[in-house]
Amino acid sequence: MSMPIDAWTKAAVNAKQNAQCLAVLFLSLFLALPQRLVAAEEQWILDQSTLTYHVSHPLHQTEGVSHAARGKGVCHEEQCDFLIAVPVKSFDSGDSNRDLHMLEVTKGAEFPLVTVRTRLPESDSKSATIHADLEVQFAGQTACYKQVPFQLTPQGSEIKIAGTIPATLSDFKIGPPTLLTLPVKNEIPIRVEMTWRRQ
């Protein structure tokens, strides 16, 4: 049994149309997929950081500085989750005795890291100022700071972020350390300066 020539021609045209459809489908998938992959894979890495806590005492104004923070941000569906962690031990106030005392009152040996978590819209990276809700874990306690302002300065593929977290000792149930029986102030603002790199 053989097919008539018309039927062969019709079948050949259908096959050609199907192939074109498939080609268009593959092409559209090929064009669309990488964008989706790029969007899903966007990450931010903390390149450099300077965290400075400030302690006020009637006789002293002390600052402790750390450059040891590590951080990462993972973006998905236009939201980025950031995690920053810094060892409590890494803060240097210029005096080893004071640093050990700080480590003791903040339970730094038992809870060795300070962690900060936040979620930001991806579009915030284009703003000059952002307001972040921060969840800070420190000394075995968790404190939340709402709408903390940070200034953003884009520099090529990097962004510099600067701001101050209005932390207090009581937020983390830390008894104020004393010097010559005089306690330090409850406020310990933490100045944050970070450089983030898009990956």
């Binding site: 590590r70 941000g73 005795n97 050990l100 003791e104």
Partner: protein, 298 residues
């Protein structure tokens, strides 16, 4: 001779009695802290760490809850304590309690569960599979388990160190009072026309200074060292000054005793005893500098 021996024996008995009494009293009037640790549903939390710290003495102890979530800490010195309850998966709970002599205080803690920690991810997988549920974790940041894990033992060491140094600091401040008074009274004690009373007052103040000084020094010397820590900053100067005022505080009373004896014999202060004044001034100066170095920022 017999009378002297009797006096000595009486002193010894008095000393033993004064040393033994607080210990006996502490044993007799010991307090107990007991209780139960549960989660928000009321279910027992076993193996939770219950730590207590005496807020006055800094003495610390800890215990783990048993299978029923209960714990019992007997033989505690009455006073104000900080109680901390910690266990993985729950927020740390801390409270202050007061233990009274001979009583058992029941402390029940209800812990709040923490939200589940994000699962560890490899850097390669974390991007493509990123979702709000798999935010970065500490392992993603490259922290090793040793860096994340706390050390209650090291914390206890730090607390003991701080406690001893706080006493050192307070005693050091108190020592300055008789020291200043000794320097002030030395003007009347060392001159040509000095009375026995002036010298005696100076000697008593000097002795009080020396006693307080060596007690102060004891708490600094016996404070535990933290391994791997090098002295930096003003504390180095503070410690360096101890090499001057330490020997000075040994020499000053010896030279003072010689000068006192010479004066009482109607002699002029002579020989090595003449160094009493200058040594005392250098010692007081070094002590003051050590105090200021950790009190004021230069």
């Amino acid at each position: 001779m017999r009378e002297r021996m009797a006096k000595l024996a009486a002193c010894a008995v008095l000393m033993i009695f004064s040393l033994a009494t607080p210990a006996l009293r502490a044993q007799e009037a010991a307090a107990t802290l007991s209780g139960r640790v549960a989660d928000s549903s009321g279910a027992a939390v076993p193996n939770a760490k219950v730590s207590i710290r005496n807020l006055e003495t800094g003495q610390a102890a800890d215990i783990q809850t048993d299978r029923t979530g209960t714990f019992n800490l007997p033989k505690l010195v009455p006073g104000d304590y900080e109680v901390t309850v910690s266990v993985q998966g729950f927020a740390v709970k801390a409270d202050k309690v007061t233990l009274t002599a001979g009583a058992t205080l029941t402390y029940n803690a209800t812990l709040t569960a923490l939200p589940a920690e994000p699962q560890p991810q490899s850097p390669a997988s974390s991007g493509a599979n990123a979702s709000p549920g798999n935010a970065p974790s500490l392992q993603d940041l490259g922290f090793s388990p040793a860096e994340i894990k706390g050390s209650p033992k090291e914390q206890a060491l730090l607390e003991r160190r701080t406690h001893m140094l706080k006493i050192h600091q307070r005693l050091g401040l108190i020592t300055t009072l008789p020291m200043i008074a000794s320097v002030a009274t030395s003007i009347n004690a060392g001159g040509r026309d000095t009375s026995n009373t002036d010298r005696t007052v100076h000697m008593i103040l000097g002795s009080a200074t020396a006693d307080l000084y060596f007690t102060t020094a004891y708490f600094a010397i016996r404070a535990p060292r933290v391994p791997g820590t090098r002295s930096r900053g003003p504390i180095r100067f503070h410690k360096a000054m101890a090499w001057i005022h330490g020997p000075g505080m040994i020499l000053t009373p010896i030279l003072g005793a010689l000068a006192y004896s010479q004066k009482n014999n109607g002699e002029r202060v002579h020989g090595i005893a003449k160094a009493h004044g200058p040594v005392a001034i250098v010692t007081a100066g070094a002590f003051g500098a050590a105090l200021l170095s950790v009190s004021l920022k230069f």
